[in-house]
C-alpha cells in the first residue's frame, strides 16, 4: 500500500524557483530512498490555471494521499486546493498562503513582509537622513506588494529618500537595464534595494559599468543565492548582506508531510521561516554549494 504524495509548484522561470525545484527533487530522491512505500509525484505548472489542472490530475489520476502545494497565486488556487482536500488528502501549503483559512493541515511559509522590513532596517542602520535610494521590485504580485509595502512602512520617517521604484521582475537583465536608467537619471544614489539576488546581480553589473560602485554604495538583495552568500562570506562590500527567503522551504514541507505519515508525533501546524539577515558572521550556515541557487 503506497503512500502517494503530490507536489505542485510553479514552473521555474527564474533562479529562485529553480532552487526550489532543485530542493524538491533532492527531497524526492532522499525521501523515496528512505521510505520505499512513499511515492512523491512532482509537477510544475506555468500559470495558475495550469496548476489548478495539475491538481485535478493529481487527484483523479494519481489519487494522492497528500498534497504539497506552493500556489502560483493564493486566490485562484484556494478552490482547487479545497477540492483536493475534499478528496480526503492531507494538505501542506508552502510559501504563499491560501486566501481561506483552515484548508491546509500544514503551512510552511516564508515571510514576505518580514523580508521587506529587515531590508529597510538594514538600510536605516547604514544610511543617514537625506540619503537617496532606489528600489527594483519583483514581478507585480502579492509577494512583491507585501515586501514593498512593509519596506516602505519601515523606511517611513527615516529621512531616507526613495527616488523611484520600478519592476525588474526578479530578473537579471531587467535589473541591469532598470539600474542603468536609474543611474542616468539620478546623479546621486547611495544605496539600492534590489529585493532579490537575481536583480542584484544586474544592479551590480550596471553600477560597475557606470563606475558608481564605490563611495560606500551598497546593494541589498534577497532570497539567499549561493553566489551572493559566498560573496558575503568573502567580505564583498557592494553586496554586504542578504535577507533569507530560502527556496529549500519546499523540501521542509515535503519532509514534514512525509513525517505526518511516518512519525508518531503530531506534525500539523505552521512553520514560519524567518527572514534572517545574512551577514559575514552567519553566512556559512546558509551556504549550499551544490544547489543551483
Amino acid at each position: 500500500e503506497n503512500i502517494k504524495i503530490g507536489v505542485s509548484y510553479p514552473t521555474p522561470t527564474h533562479a529562485w524557483a529553480a532552487g526550489m525545484n532543485w530542493h524538491a527533487e533532492k527531497a524526492e530522491e532522499r525521501l523515496e530512498a528512505l521510505y520505499p512505500d512513499v511515492d512523491l509525484i512532482l509537477v510544475n505548472s506555468p500559470d495558475p490555471s495550469a496548476q489548478a489542472s495539475a491538481l485535478e490530475d493529481l487527484m483523479s489520476v494519481h489519487q494522492i494521499d497528500a498534497l504539497v502545494v506552493l500556489p502560483f497565486e493564493s486566490e485562484p488556487l484556494t478552490d482547487p486546493v479545497l477540492n483536493v482536500k475534499k478528496s480526503g488528502a492531507l494538505i501542506t501549503v508552502v510559501d504563499r498562503g491560501l486566501s481561506q483559512p483552515g484548508i491546509e493541515d500544514i503551512y510552511v511559509a516564508g515571510n514576505n513582509p518580514e523580508l521587506g522590513r529587515v531590508s529597510a532596517q538594514y538600510m536605516k542602520g547604514r544610511l543617514k537622513e537625506g540619503d537617496n535610494i532606489v528600489i527594483l521590485r519583483g514581478i507585480p504580485t502579492l509577494i512583491d506588494n507585501e515586501r514593498f509595502d512593509a519596506f516602505m512602512a519601515e523606511i517611513e520617517g527615516s529621512g531616507i529618500n526613495v527616488l523611484d521604484h520600478k519592476h525588474a521582475n526578479w530578473n537579471r537583465d531587467d535589473g541591469f537595464e532598470v539600474m542603468q536608467d536609474f543611474l542616468s537619471r539620478f546623479p546621486d544614489i547611495d544605496a539600492v534595494w534590489a529585493q532579490d539576488d537575481d536583480i542584484a546581480i544586474g544592479v551590480v553589473a550596471a553600477l560597475k559599468q557606470a563606475g558608481r560602485d564605490g563611495n560606500g554604495m551598497f546593494v541589498v538583495g534577497g532570497a539567499g543565492m549561493k553566489e551572493t552568500i559566498k560573496g558575503i562570506m568573502d567580505g564583498n562590500e557592494l553586496v554586504p548582506v542578504d535577507v533569507l527567503y530560502p527556496p529549500a522551504m519546499i523540501a521542509t514541507a515535503m519532509d514534514v508531510t512525509v513525517a505526518a505519515f511516518k512519525s508518531n508525533g503530531p506534525v500539523a501546524g505552521r512553520y514560519i521561516l524567518g527572514a534572517t539577515l545574512i551577514t559575514p558572521e552567519n553566512a556559512a550556515s546558509f551556504y549550499f554549494p551544490d544547489s543551483p541557487f
Partner: protein, 338 residues
C-alpha cells in the same frame, strides 16, 4: 458537346483530402492511446471530464480565432483580453453586491459586462486594423500589452478576488454538470456548433474565406471587406468573453498571470486543426480537435514523471510539430514538384 463537358472524376480528390481532414483526429487518437498506456486512469470518466472541461477555454477562444485567421487576420491579444475581462467582471460583481446582493442578478450583471467588454475589445482590434489600416499583428500585440497591464493596474499588481458569497452562486457554472457533462463543456459544444454553422453554412463564413483568399476579389464581389474583418474580431471578442464567463467561477480571481500565452495556444489549436495561417481556409472542426490535442498533451505530461519536469516543453513542442505533420496528411507520398 455540352453534356460531356462535365465528366465525373470525383474519385481522385478523396484520398489526399480526407487524410488531411482526418489528420488531427488521428493525432488525438494516438495521444489517447499513449495516455492510456502510460496510465489506464487516463480513460477514467473523471479524467475525460476534466480534459473536456479544460479544453473548453482554449477551445472557445480558438473558435473565434478561426474566423480571424480565416479572414487573413491574427489576434494576439486574446489571453490578455480574457484577463482584463475577468478582472473587470470581478470588480463589477463585487461592486454590485451592495445594490443587488450576492445572488443571481449580480452574476448576470457580471456576465453581461463580460460580453460587452468582449465585444468592445474585439471592435477596437477590428477597427484599428481595418479603419486604422495597421497590421493586425501590431494592433493586437499593442492591445495585448495594454490589456495585460490594465489588469495588473486594476489588481494593484496583485490578485482580484470575487466576493466569496457570489462565488457560491456562480461556482456551479464551472463545477456542475448537466446530463452528465459539465456546463463548460456544454458551452464549448454550443459555441462549436454555432461557429461551425456560421463558417460553413452562412454567407458570413463564405465572406471570411473569400477575404482571406483574396481581398480584392472579395471587394469586387460586393463584400464589405472592412466590415466583415471587423466582425471577425468582434466574434473573437465574444468568444473570449464566453470563455471568461466560465473561467471566472473556476478560480474566482484574476491577476496579471491570468490567460498568459492563451493566444499562442489558441492560434496553435487553430493551425493544428488545419486552418491555414495565411487565411482563406478555415476549419472549425479541426480547431476543436486542435484544442483537445493541446489539452491532452498537458494532461498526459501530468500523468507520468518519467520525463524530467524541465523537459515538458520539449515534449509539448515535439508533439505539436508531429501532430501538424500528421495533419498534413501526405506522409509517404513523394514530395510533388508542383
Amino acid at each position: 458537346m455540352t453534356e460531356t463537358a462535365m465528366s465525373t472524376a470525383k474519385s481522385s480528390k478523396l484520398n489526399g483530402f480526407d487524410l488531411k481532414t482526418a489528420g488531427p483526429a488521428i493525432a488525438l487518437l494516438i495521444l489517447c492511446v499513449i495516455g492510456f498506456l502510460l496510465n489506464p486512469a487516463f480513460l477514467s470518466e473523471g479524467n475525460i471530464t476534466n480534459l473536456l472541461t479544460r479544453s473548453a477555454f482554449i477551445g472557445i477562444i480558438a473558435v473565434g480565432a478561426t474566423f480571424v485567421i480565416t479572414a487573413g487576420g491574427i489576434d494576439l491579444s486574446v489571453g490578455s483580453m480574457a484577463a482584463v475581462i475577468a478582472g473587470v467582471m470581478i470588480i463589477v460583481m463585487n461592486g454590485a453586491v451592495d445594490t443587488f446582493g450576492t445572488g443571481l442578478t449580480t452574476v448576470l450583471i457580471g456576465c453581461g459586462c463580460s460580453i460587452i467588454l468582449g465585444l468592445g475589445a474585439g471592435l477596437v482590434n477590428g477597427l484599428l486594423t481595418t479603419k486604422g489600416k495597421i497590421e493586425a499583428f501590431i494592433v493586437t500585440l499593442g492591445t495585448m500589452g495594454i490589456y495585460r497591464s490594465l489588469v495588473t493596474y486594476f489588481a494593484d499588481g496583485g490578485t482580484l478576488s470575487l466576493n466569496y458569497d457570489i462565488r457560491g452562486v456562480y461556482r456551479p457554472v464551472y463545477y456542475e454538470s448537466f446530463l452528465g457533462l459539465p456546463i463548460p463543456v456544454w458551452v464549448f459544444i454550443i459555441v462549436s456548433i454555432a461557429g461551425w454553422f456560421l463558417m460553413n453554412r452562412t454567407a458570413f463564413g463564405r465572406y471570411c474565406t473569400a477575404i482571406g483568399s483574396n481581398e480584392s476579389v472579395a471587394k469586387y464581389s460586393a463584400i464589405k471587406v472592412d466590415r466583415v474583418k471587423t466582425l471577425t474580431y468582434v466574434i473573437q471578442g465574444l468568444c473570449v468573453s464566453l470563455a471568461t464567463i466560465i473561467y471566472v467561477p473556476r478560480l474566482g480571481s484574476a491577476s496579471s498571470s491570468t490567460g498568459v500565452l492563451w493566444e499562442l495556444e489558441a492560434i496553435a489549436a487553430v493551425i493544428i486543426g488545419g486552418t491555414v495561417l495565411k487565411g482563406g481556409y478555415g476549419r472549425i472542426g479541426g480547431t476543436i480537435l486542435g484544442a483537445l490535442i493541446l489539452t491532452t498533451i498537458g494532461n498526459i505530461l501530468n500523468f507520468t514523471d518519467m520525463i524530467s519536469n524541465y523537459l515538458n516543453g520539449t515534449m509539448q513542442g515535439l508533439i505539436i510539430i508531429i501532430a501538424v505533420w500528421l495533419q498534413r496528411g501526405d506522409w509517404g507520398r513523394k514530395t510533388s514538384a508542383d
